[in-house]
Amino acid sequence: MKKYESFPVSPVEKKRRRKRERQAALITSPYLLWMIIFTLIPMIFVVYYAFTDATGAFTINNVKGLLGLEKETQNVIQSGTFIRLDFVKIFWRSMWYGAVATVVCLLIAYPVAYFVSQMRENRQQIIITLVMLPMWMNFILRTYALMKMLEDTGIINTAFTKLGLPVIHMINTPFAVILGMVYNFLPYMVLPIYSVMSKMDYSLIEAAQDLGCNRMRVFTKVILPLSMGGVVSGITMVFVPSVSTFYISQKLGGGTNEMIGDVIERTFLTETNYNVGAAISLVLMILIFICMAVMNRFSEDESQGGSIIV
């Protein structure tokens, strides 16, 4: 772009460019208008509701209540019967479950992506289609199917009883919730890693081998750094829906493993307390953005480190 600007520009060309910019802005404007009304303004609404009370007056009690700084939130005073939730604990649990599910997905998906990228070309396409196929079924159906399997009277435990083994209680445990996340979002981790690996320049790996790297070093010095981009976008694609889920934790966690998504859903739809709900959503959003920023920072460092070595 700098090169483009450094040329001396004739007034005619300048006029032409200005016209071009005007045209570009004109055809983008319907989209821009749409996004301002239906994306930006709703975000402003979230912030507005988060910092006001039911009467519309400014307050920071909603956010304070979440952080445990305020003993009683507006919410409790109004509904009376509502049991005060330990929001910090629920936030922490959501982040923790999401992180564990993401790591498990990464550990399972990375070898899958690698093995697939080593296959013959036409076979790669078939396998990747098979990885994607469950994704095209609604996640509610998938979660429901998993729930039915894990139940005490489900097919696994029925088989165990038939074999004379004791029933293993799996449903409504943290294990079931994390399993549900891994099951639902595993393809989101496989696809970006695979797409980076399939485009990887194989001659780099050969070069490393020729220069005397063993398998392990080829992996840590060549394959892993080159696939970092896919790993980072995979982590984002699994972590964000995992942390913010509400259906998976309801169905597989019972009432005991409540996550932040459940609280948001309940606060908005059952209690219709938009102010507290908006405050929780805002905090969730900020927490996720912080996580993503840290992630991106990390991956940038990684690639910069790589370029310095080269």
């Binding site: 979230v46 697939v116 998993l146 948001i264 938009y274 959003m285």
Partner: protein, 273 residues
């Protein structure tokens, strides 16, 4: 190593497909049980096809997917062309940021933020008339589709030489004609990919729809959610089996068409494998 990778892949696929396969098998169950299989029957399929709500929800979902993918493709294509043309404009940065918001935000936050807007509009602009239902769903679906459409068209536009459009205009095309004759054919694969992606995203969405839907317009994912909330009938297994089969057939067809297209291309160019 070879055998290890094979065993590994089979284990992962078992994990991915076991719950679905269990549902498929139990959709033919003679009794209402999730653990025991007794006798083969089609009774749950019969019950499903007598359920008018399911067929109605399917129809609603398809209408919504077609309309929202069309609107988002038109708006998104224009926007992508505009964004690609911008060089020094101060609008470019904010536009890209707005495009990123729905993609980065968790679905639940997008859902509740739109719900707040629609509730507000219903209360204070329309005087208590709710727009929750078809219109709110159409707007929400179009909004979350748009970034994906733009993201699938922009790379195509970047590959294109801007001189092509200029040449067409020098040869007497109006900007609109140059767009239809030159730009659109060049980016058509990106446009179609974006539209198909929008269609499936819309058809599959639950979280955002859940927060902006009304009682008079139910989509299939919302209906499925309602079905799993109440005392569940095994008809849901039959429904899953049908959805799975349809998706499977569609994917086989697309794959076949794609590989045939590739073969044709190879023949045309005279390249031998």
């Amino acid at each position: 190593m070879k055998t290890f990778s094979k065993i590994y892949m089979i284990t992962v696929f078992l994990f991915l497909y076991a719950p679905i396969m269990v549902m498929v098998v139990f959709s033919f169950n003679g009794i209402n049980s999730t653990g025991l299989f007794q006798g083969f029957s089609f009774r749950w399929y019969e019950e499903l096809f007598q359920n008018r709500a399911v067929l109605n929800a399917l129809k609603n979902s398809l209408i919504l997917a077609v309309l929202s993918s069309l609107i988002s493709t038109v708006l998104g294509t224009l926007a992508a062309v505009g964004i690609n043309r911008m060089r020094h404009s101060w609008i470019k940065g904010p536009t890209m940021m707005l495009t990123d918001i729905p993609m980065m935000n968790p679905d639940i936050v997008t859902g509740i933020s739109m719900m707040l807007l629609f509730v507000f509009v219903g209360k204070f602009v329309l005087g208590g008339n709710s727009i929750m239902g078809f219109w709110s769903l159409l707007i929400a679906h179009t909004t979350f589709n748009l970034p994906y459409v733009i993201m699938s068209i922009l790379p195509k536009l970047r590959q294109m030489d801007p001189k092509l459009t200029e040449a067409a205009m020098d040869l007497g095309c109006t900007p609109a004609k140059a767009f239809v004759k030159v730009v659109l054919p060049f980016i058509s694969s990106g446009v179609i990919a974006g539209m198909m992606m929008a269609f499936t995203l819309s058809l599959d969405d639950f979280v955002i729809s859940y927060f902006v839907n009304g009682s008079n317009f139910q989509t299939l994912p919302i209906l499925i959610y309602a079905m799993t909330k109440k005392r569940v009938r095994p008809t849901i297994n039959a429904l899953s089996t049908i959805i799975f089969t349809v998706v499977l057939i569609l994917l086989i067809i697309t794959n076949a068409v794609q590989s045939r297209g590739e073969k044709k291309n190879i023949k045309k160019k005279g390249i031998r494998q």
